[in-house]
Structures are given as C-alpha cells and as structure tokens.
C-alpha cells in the first residue's frame, strides 16, 4: 500500500519535471494559445466542413460561373462555378494531411538516422553526418522536383514521400547533436556497466531525452512541408486538378487576379493563417521546453 503511494508520488514528480512544466509554460504563452486554437479551428473546419456543405469540390456550374461572395456561396465561386469555400476546405485536408504525413516520414528517418549517428563514436558518425551535410548543401526544391516527376505525380502518397525524403536532414542534424551530448552522461555508462544493450539505452535513455527538441522541430517542420507542397502544386508539379490543394487554388487565383481577385485572396488568407498559427505554436514550444535560451531563428 505504502509502496504504491510512493510510486504515485515519484511518477507525478517525474511527470511535472519536463512535460507538465513545458505544457504549463506553453499554455501561458498568449501567441501560442492563439496559434493553437486557430490551427485546431482550421483543421476541424477542413475535416468536418465538407460533410455539412451542399456542394462538392468538383461540382461545376458553368451557367453560374465566377461570382463574388454571396449568401449562397460564402467565398464565391471560380470560373467553372465551383464553390470556393468547399474547395478551400478540401484543399486544406490535402495540404494539412501532406504536412503531417511528410513530417512523420521526416521524423522517423531523421530521428533514427540522427540518434544512430550521434550514438556511434567517431568515424561512423563523421561519415553519416558528412553525407547529411553534402545533401544539405543542395537546393531542396530541385531535388523534390526531380523526385516528384520521377514518381507518378498524381499520387499524393508519393508527393509526401518525396518531401519527407528531403525534410529529414535537419531533424537528423539536431538529433545527432543532442545524442552526442547525451551519450557522454555518466548514467549511460552506468547502464552499460549494468549490462544494458545499446538498443535498450537508445530506447530508454536517449530517445526520451530527445523529446523536447524533436517536438519543437516537428512543429516547425509541418509549416515548412505545407509550404513546399504548395510551391510544388503552384508550379504544377504537385497535386493535380481537379483535385484541390492550397497551392493549386493560389495558382488558379493568381492567374485570374485581375478579374476575380477573391479567388486569390481567400485561399491566400487561410493558407497564411495556418502557417502563422503553426509557427507561433512552434515558437511557443521552443520557449516552453527551453525557457532560458533566447530563441530567434
């Protein structure tokens, strides 16, 4: 009985030390709170909105054509008479979905590669990280463009794979640096002496300690990926019409900007708001996990 209670106390103290503390600092950061609620609103709207709408993203009404915002079409229609609001919501599903999916790809590769490189001594690490440096020095967008034309570009799955395959590099760098610092701690040595395998040390001691930087960088990768997907779609290399994505909508809007300006303004607004909210969450997380440091970049 007594033993159990002690465990509870220990658990609650441990939980408070990093995650709880960071969470409290995060929720006290006004900009992060605004960003967080905004992002949740946008995501929910994109997920649920299309079920409640009486239009579909590819339903044309050529007779109606392009009309400005009205009660019937809240954000207006494009020149094929398609409802812009629903197209933005569906596009949001794609853009946010690709953002998360590609970030997960980048996260898995980056953390695995980085922690292995940082954990291994000397030569292996040097070779692994030199490779990252070499690829890092190349123009990202060009690599992604070549990757997207290589794969069947109509597949969204391959677009986020291609983006993920490029975005993992920074994650690997950050994780590698952190792991290298952690490896030198005496408690790692202690577990090794106690007979723990390297895999166990990585899983039990290294990875949990990487949580902070990984969470922060993950949050900052999502907007970067959303941006990259939109750039690709904007250049005609990403998601293909009639499917919708924020990059495509902004591209279509940009082409007709002189006659139907709302086609650019509304997608651009929601796109920028999303990036805004995600960046504020990322900045807030950075302050929350590492309040001493003065963060800038």
């Amino acid at each position: 009985m007594i033993k159990r209670r002690r465990e509870d106390i220990v658990a609650s103290v441990a939980a408070r030390s990093l995650k709880r503390d960071a969470w409290e600092r995060l929720t006290h950061n006004r900009m992060a709170r605004i960003g967080g609620s905004l992002f949740i609103c946008i995501t929910l709207l994109c997920l649920i909105g299309p079920f409640l709408s009486s239009y579909t993203f590819d339903q044309q009404n050529l007779a109606y054509g392009a009309q400005g915002p009205s009660l019937k079409h809240w954000l207006g229609t494009d020149d094929l008479g398609r409802d812009l609001f629903i197209r933005i919501l569906i596009g949001g599903r794609i853009s946010i979905g690709v953002g998360f999916a590609a970030t997960i790809v980048a996260l898995l590769i980056g953390v695995t590669y980085g922690s292995l490189a940082g954990y291994k001594d000397g030569r292996t690490e040097a070779i692994m990280m030199r490779f990252v440096d070499a690829v890092y020095a190349l123009p990202f967008t060009m690599i992604v463009i070549v990757l997207t034309v290589t794969f069947d570009k109509k597949s969204i799955f391959l677009i986020f794979m291609a983006i993920g395959l490029v975005e993992w590099l920074t994650m690997a760098r950050i994780v590698c640096g952190q792991t290298r610092a952690l490896r030198k701690n005496t408690y790692i040595e202690a577990s090794l002496t106690a007979g723990a395998s390297h895999l166990r040390i990585l899983a039990k001691h290294i990875l949990p300690n990487l949580l902070g930087p990984v969470i922060i960088y993950t949050t900052l990768t999502i907007p970067a990926v959303i941006l990259l997907e939109s750039v690709l779609s904007f250049l005609g290399l990403g998601v293909q019409p009639p499917m919708s994505s924020w990059g495509i909508l902004i591209n279509e809007g940009a082409q007709k900007i002189d006659i139907y300006p709302w086609l650019l303004i509304f997608p651009a607004m929601i796109f920028s708001l999303t990036l805004f909210s995600l960046n504020f969450i990322g900045d807030g997380l950075r302050d929350a996990f590492d309040p001493k440091e003065n963060h800038s970049a």
Partner: protein, 305 residues
Amino acid sequence: MLTFIARRLLQAIPTLWVVATATFILLRLAPGGPFDDEKPVAPEIKKQIETHYGLNHSLHIQYFQFFGNLLKGDLGPSYKYSGWEVQEIIAQTFPVSLELGIWAFLVSLIVGIPIGIIAAIRHNKPSETILMATAMVGICLPSFVIGPILLLLFSLQLEWFNPIGWNYPGDRVLPIMTLGLLYAAYIARLARGGMLDVLKHDYVRTARAKGLKESLVVYRHALRTALYPVVAYTGPAAAGLISGSFVVETIFFIPGLGPFFVNAALNRDYTMVMGTVLFYAILIILLNLMVDLIQMWMNPRTRHD
C-alpha cells in the same frame, strides 16, 4: 587556408558525382521519355531521333557517355529546345536569375538587419513586438502569395509597374521585393537573436561600464558578433533564393533559368535537368565555401575547425 579550400573542393567531387548519378537514375525511372509527344510520331522517326541523341544505347553506355562529355565540359544538347546546347540555355537565362537573386538578397539584408537590431535594442518594448510580429507575417506570406498580391496592388490597381516582363528597371521592383522580403523576415529574426545574445556578454558590460554611449556599444562592439548567425544563414538563404526564384520567375514571366528547369523536368528533357541540377549544385557548394571563408574571417575562433 589554401589547404582548407583545396580539401573542401576535393570533397565536393564525390558529392557532385552522387548528385549526378542519383539524378540520372531518377530521371530514367520516370515514366515516359523526352520524345513521347501527345501527337504520336511514326516509330521509325522516333527511333531516328533517339539514335541522333544517343538514346538508343543501353543505359550504362548513356551514363558513361554523359560523364565523358561532362568531363570535357559539355552538358549535351537540350532535347526540347532543339538546336540549343544546355550550357547555351544556362548562359542565356542564368544572368537574369542571378540579377534577381543578388538584388533580392541585398534587399533582405538592408531591410532585415536594421529591423532585427532595432528590435533587439528595444527588447521587451512594444516596438519590438510590432517589428517581430511584422517579420512573422513576412515569413507566413511566401513568395507565391505575396507576389500576386503585390502584382494586384501595384500593377493592376495603382499601375505603378508593368505586371510582367523584365525589360525596364521598373519591372525589377516587384519581383525583387517578392523574393527579398521573405528573407528579410528571416534575417531580422536572426539578427535580433544574435544581438540579444551579444548584449549579455561581459565585454559589452565592460564597454558600458567604461561609459561608452549606447550607440557606440551597439555598433562598434556588439554588431560584428551579432551578425554571425546572419552570415551563417547566407548559405541556406542562397539555396532558398534559387528555388524561390523559380516561383517568382513563373509569377512575373521573367526569362530566368527557373521556368526552364521546371519545364525540363516535366518534359523529361534529361540533359537540361541534369545540366541545371549540376550547375546549381556547384554554385551552392561554392557559395557555402565562400560563406565559411567569410565566417572564418569574421570570427577567428572558427578558424581551427
């Protein structure tokens, strides 16, 4: 110093080889070839065209041919712009991209550094919040959003500039702003962080303690160190400016290298894609080397690395 440069240049060779090989393989994995048009050509004619460009050989022979020509400094003919060599296209279009990039970079430095420094000096004052919030807005308005909006405002509504083209000095204003302001925002954030960091150092306290004016402390003592992060960022920024220019050149119909590259990738213009990728890879490697040298010159502590 010279050994450092030589070592870096030697290291670049395997990198370039990997990039070239990877691009080669990826391009050949891509479905379709450069001469698969929508209008079907008679098979004999297609075969003849392919023989002309050496595409009839097996892949590994093409690979060695490409590298053989590359060592002679020949990137081969473009498949889509017949009669043009790839290096001719690059020589024609790259100066435009370069001009756009350099100006945009200068704008981002001239706008970004003062904003960051002022924000740092006014730390925890409302003016800092306003400046940094503006910078955040800049970061969240990527070039393909801000470009069309600037175009709508200044070309179509106010009619100050031509909406597209690259013929008169005025045509350059909007593209340069579109490309430069985003990086100005990043640089402002970096400069602010750097300056805040430096102002905590002991030598700054000493400078203040001996009674120097605040402006002298900031500009003579702190500024140089505060700009390290900005200088370190110029490498990635250069890579970003290049890919950013693809978008800006598309928006404003600028005859730079960007649209050629995107079209080449879409049309399986193998030699053109390979040539452009290699060209930019070399450019970025050289730029990074230059950035490292500038860093070593500015900060003696990095010299022994």
